[in-house]
């Protein structure tokens, strides 16, 4: 029997009865429809959240209270509803947490991928995987009883402070960053690594001069995603930062994050100006997340295909 060519195969498809053709194609259509439905519901959900936030924040804009909300004092009993101290608090807290966690994450990944020796590499990775599973509230709870009294003892103040929240937050985002960087470093093309080994590079040299530069987009992504996770975290800021609506002057001072502010104010009387201010907070957080994600997409341009060298 001769091997069928393209033309005869086409004819063979056409000669089949409609029911025979529908078989695998019908299943494919169903799957396509289901996947499209999942995509649409996810997209609609996010759009709906944005829509509701804007709708509930509208009374602020329409009533001309926006300048009231973007001021520096939060004292509802005196009619002051400024959320700028909370914005400053969130930014200071998250940036300091990332500053502490990122070098640590890089160090851990460097250890796992080149600098580490022997039996320590696997347990370290397993520990990091385990840490991703610990609920946020456990970090907060343990810190209240372990970290806060120490800070009160060493630095004065109440212990519930920028430092306490920042240290715990950095511990929380560390596993996320480590896993992201780890995945990126693992994806280095094996041929490049083979070439590096053939050139006589030590594992550390290969890590520093070959793999890290190749993974640079992933490193940026890990930084930005870790920061964005820290920005969205509510419980640690709520339990550890003291929640005083002021801009902190020292690391032992109390601050309030935007997320903790929403959590504290959400139970007040509906319709009051304090209540409307939390929708402004929500919009700010949403805008920052959107900006972060767009930046990420710009950075994650398609990874260059491995160079094919012939000959």
């Amino acid at each position: 029997m001769t091997v069928p060519d393209d033309h005869s195969l086409n004819l063979a498809w056409r000669r089949r009865s409609p029911r025979q053709v529908e078989g695998p194609f019908c299943r494919e259509k169903v799957v396509r429809v289901m996947l499209a439905g999942a995509m649409l519901s996810a997209a609609l959900g996010v759009a709906a959240i944005l829509g509701f936030l804007a709708y509930f924040a509208w009374p602020l804009v329409a009533g001309g209270h926006l300048s009231q909300v973007f001021s520096w004092h939060w004292q509802p009993v005196r009619g002051q509803f400024g959320i700028l101290p909370m914005l400053a608090g969130s930014l200071l807290l998250t940036l300091s947490a990332v500053l502490a966690a990122y070098p640590l994450a890089m160090g851990l990944c460097g250890f796992v991928h080149g600098a580490g020796r022997g039996p320590w590499v696997r347990p370290v990775l397993a520990l990091i995987h385990f840490m991703t599973g610990i609920p946020t509230v456990v970090y907060g709870f343990v810190s209240v009883f372990v970290l806060v009294p120490r800070i009160r003892q060493w630095l004065g103040g109440t212990g519930y402070s920028w430092l306490a929240a920042s240290l715990t937050l950095s511990l929380l985002i560390l596993p996320t960053m480590v896993l992201l960087i780890h995945t990126q470093l693992r994806q280095t093309d094996s041929r490049v690594r083979l070439a590096a080994a053939a050139l006589g590079l030590t594992p550390v040299q290969e890590l520093l001069w070959v793999r890290l530069p190749q993974a640079s987009q992933g490193l940026w992504a890990a930084l930005i995603l870790g920061w964005s996770r820290a920005l969205g975290d509510t419980l640690i800021a709520l339990m550890l930062s003291g929640n005083a609506p002021q801009v902190p002057q020292a690391v032992a001072d109390s601050l309030r994050a935007l997320t903790a502010h929403i959590a504290l104010v959400v139970a007040t009387d509906v319709g009051s100006a304090a209540y409307h201010s939390i929708f402004a907070c929500g919009l700010i957080l949403f805008a920052i997340s959107a900006a972060v994600n767009l930046t990420l997409r710009r950075l994650q341009a398609p990874v260059a295909a491995p160079h094919h060298t012939h000959g």
Partner: protein, 282 residues
Amino acid sequence: MKLRQTWQFIVITALCCGLMSLCPTPGRAGALESFKALDGTLDIAGGTAHIPVMQDAAKNIMQVNPKIRITIAGGGSGVGVQKVGEGLVAIGNTGRALTPEEVSRYGLKSFPFAIDGVAVAVNPANPVGALTSEQAQAIFAGKITNWKAVGGKDAPINLYGRDEASGTREVFWGKLLKKGPVAEKTNIVASNGAMKVAIAQDPGAIGYLGIGHVDQTVTAVKLDGAEPTQENAKNGTYPITRKLYMNTKGEPTPLARAFIDYILSPEGAPIIQKHGYIPVQQ
């Protein structure tokens, strides 16, 4: 392997059933009898101070009539008003009186059932045991910043307060601070329980919480010579008091009415007293 798993399952189930049967089932008559004829679900939400009383009452009722289901949630007085006003729960608990706007907007009815005092509390290691109103106002406004100014050690005063939605905070601010200024650097905690933890852990702390929540981990200070006890709250010697209210939207449903009557009845009074509040005389 399968046999062992089956045995494990049977043993665990038997243990659970055994433990549940150990729960006491008091045979009460009176107000609980009226629940035998009812069934349905009763949702309650609102102030955190009310929760222990509600839970005990609910337990007694559900034991008498297992067909009734009562759910109790917290959230604070603000949440209580919101939820009952929107019709999400049958009874909304508040630790403060309803404002005229709330009553007219939602058409709510209030049922006060207990009196609770709000006490100023310090760490047990703090030698300061009494304050005047003026001192308390100055401390919470941030004007007095060191304990030695009020007779204590030379240490900074650490202020703790409650969040916006708290009925406890509202009473404290209105009746003791006389609606005066509050220092911006006050640390905010989210519940009476969190306030207790914060004060118990910090030697220089001062804060406020419901008298019903005071135990050995914190010390309640005397205000203008009045000891913060429930008796003094009742007879007016201690002025910083509030009533605990149950609120319904319009007339309560039969099940909600029975629940409210139970709490206000002579059988409900021991439950209220057990948790440190004073029953309101009906």
